[in-house]
């Protein structure tokens, strides 16, 4: 079971909302599918993202995947630790492996995302 306090996308990103702050990362399932994460390319602080816009790239040894914003908003912080420790995305995907914090533009966008049960069902279906 994935953490129940998060919202999920079909592209395997998660978002945690705290007031108007939305923290975004990728799920343990996604990290495992990609393999050893070696590099995370993140946007500049201040950039404004639409919901589902590509905001970065995650690279493993032999694969690459775009990252999509589960919700829209302005980037207020990125996880600088991932520059030196991209492995956190594998080892601690829901906490230390977070990627960006957004100023949530529209809380209603959360309604269109998956909850933990629905996301579990998605990955169980393969």
């Amino acid at each position: 079971m994935v953490p129940t306090d998060l919202h999920y996308t079909k592209d395997h990103e998660w978002v945690r909302v705290d007031g108007d702050r939305a923290t975004v990362g990728i799920t343990a399932y996604a990290a495992e599918q990609l393999g050893d994460i070696v590099f995370v390319e993140l946007p500049d602080v201040g950039r404004s993202l639409d919901q589902f816009a590509a905001f970065g790239v995650v690279e493993s040894v032999k694969a690459v995947s775009d990252l999509f914003a589960p919700v829209g908003g302005e980037v207020v912080e990125t996880n600088a630790t991932l520059t030196s420790q991209p492995e956190l995305v594998n080892s601690d995907p829901y906490d230390g492996g977070w990627m960006v914090r957004l100023r949530l533009a529209d809380a209603a966008q959360l309604d269109g995302l998956l909850d933990a049960t629905a996301y579990d069902a998605l990955i169980a279906a393969g």
Binding site: F39, A63, V64
Partner: protein, 475 residues
């Protein structure tokens, strides 16, 4: 087929296993309307006859000339060890080291190449090789655009004309390329015009991603690289230095004057001229730009037992994984030539490399004096390393007449820079450590004769036989 193993019995056995009577059946999926017309090529040629044909073709080339031609490709002594090592099948018949466990030779050799070249250019990261100096320079220009997210690059007209033409082709997909003029006269003539560059940078729209200049420049002159780099950085642009690797043993390296990227032609490092390639595109940059450098990279790591070993790394930047978002489409590179450069550097050594550069400079000084004495003075007055332009009347015809006398008198500059009137009577000539005093005398003597029978000066007795041969052939 000359190199295949299959006997009639082998083929019959394989067809039998497939339940077929003819190999034609394996091509049934080619629609009949689209099948090839007869292949109209000559019959197979046995090796003995083919060898004779190849020898005859090679003999039609004139490589017996006393050559003063450089212009980006230089004759150097390549110790026989270089080519003999390259001829080992384990090097030249392997491919890209996709399986590191059985490719440690290639992988370590590339890592060593990266390290050796990093020492020469004094930068952090060197790619495993690009096609040639021109393609490496084009990739460097594209790097500056990706890094700065700008779309305009300025290239000095002192950069090799083929490189500038290649840049134009690579930029035709939608990027802007402008040329920085050279200083027309005075002490700095023939080098990048800093005043013009400053003016071009002041036009902020569109902003400049990168500035490219060569050291030495195409005309052999030494450029004010620190000043060009400072102007680039003040404008928020990156600075690309086009280098010549042998000269780097004595000239300040790109890392010392703040270049962000170095690109250049590695041919002088032990690689034969062979009419254009295969050569070695050198591309190097700083740690800050490592994500932008295209092409393969080999890094040091360990295996499961903790043994030190080497592996291709940061592969997810490359076309086979990132596809349309890759930094470049490069796949095949010039690994064997990178090996040649490494073996050359290891064999010749740091002191030897300096001697190569210094002896070339010394021979070039002798060449300058000898040509000036017979009426072919330098066009420019600034310092040079081992290549310079001289003015001779009717340069193209003079060049052809010298060729008749067995002398390849450098490059007719009007052939490659037809629009530059200051070079209309110019020949670009160079000397290297393989240039002999006798060759210089022959050149000067022949030129003197062509330019009006002025008696050659300073010819020692030892050159007498050369002179009589020349006189004989001139009649």
């Amino acid at each position: 087929m000359p190199y295949g193993p299959h006997t009639a019995a082998d083929r019959a056995r394989m067809l039998g296993a497939l339940g077929l009577s003819s190999v034609d059946q394996l091509f049934d999926d080619i629609p009949p309307a689209l099948r090839a017309s007869r292949l109209d090529l000559p019959d197979p040629e046995p090796e003995l006859e083919l060898a004779a044909r190849l020898s005859a073709l090679a003999a039609r080339n004139r490589t017996d000339l006393a050559s003063f031609l450089g212009a980006g490709v230089y004759r150097h002594w390549s110790p026989p060890a270089v080519d003999q090592i390259l001829l080992r099948g384990e090097w030249y018949t392997a491919y890209t080291p996709y399986q590191p466990e059985i490719s440690q030779g290639t992988l370590q050799s590339i890592y060593e190449y990266e390290s050796l070249l990093a020492e020469l250019v004094d930068l952090d990261v060197v790619s495993a090789s690009h096609y040639d100096g021109a393609a490496a320079t084009a990739e460097a220009a594209l790097m500056t655009c990706r890094q700065t997210r700008r779309e305009r690059v300025l290239v000095s007209r002192g950069v090799h004309p083929h490189y500038r033409e290649t840049l134009r082709t690579y930029f035709s997909g939608g990027l802007q390329l402008d040329e920085i003029p050279l200083v027309a006269d005075g002490e700095a003539a023939g080098t990048t015009d800093l005043v013009a560059l400053d003016r071009m940078l002041a036009e902020a729209d569109p902003p400049v991603a990168g500035i490219i200049a060569a050291q030495p420049d195409f005309l052999g002159l030494l450029e004010p690289m620190p000043a060009i780099g400072a102007l680039a950085h003040a404008a928020g642009a990156l600075f690309v230095s086009v280098i010549e690797p042998v000269g780097l043993s004595v000239l300040a390296p790109p890392g010392a004057y703040g270049a962000d990227i170095a690109a250049g032609e590695g041919q002088p490092l032990g690689i034969a001229p062979q009419y254009g390639g295969p050569y070695l595109g050198i591309l190097a940059t700083t740690d800050a730009l490592v994500r932008q450098i295209p092409g393969r990279l080999v890094g040091l790591t360990t295996d499961l037992d903790g043994q030190r070993a080497f592996v291709m790394t940061m592969r997810a930047r490359e076309q086979d994984i990132r596809r349309d978002k890759a930094a470049s489409n490069i796949c095949t590179n010039q690994a064997l030539l990178a090996l040649a450069a490494s073996v050359y550097l290891a064999t010749i050594g740091p002191h030897g490399l300096r001697d190569v550069a210094a002896l070339g400079a010394a021979r070039a000084s002798e060449l300058e004096s000898a040509l000036a004495a017979v009426g072919a003075p330098r066009i420019h007055s600034g310092p040079y390393l081992n290549e310079f332009a001289v003015r001779v009347p009717d340069a193209r015809r003079t060049h052809a007449r010298l060729l008749d006398r067995g002398i390849l008198a450098g490059l007719v500059l009007a052939d490659v820079e037809p629009d530059d009137s200051s070079l209309a009577d110019g020949l670009l000539v160079c000397a290297t450590e393989v240039t002999t005093a006798q060759e210089i005398e022959r050149f000067a003597d022949a030129l003197a004769e062509i330019l009006g029978g002025r008696p050659p000066t300073g010819v020692e007795a030892g050159a007498g036989s050369d002179r009589s041969t020349l006189a004989g052939s001139a009649r």
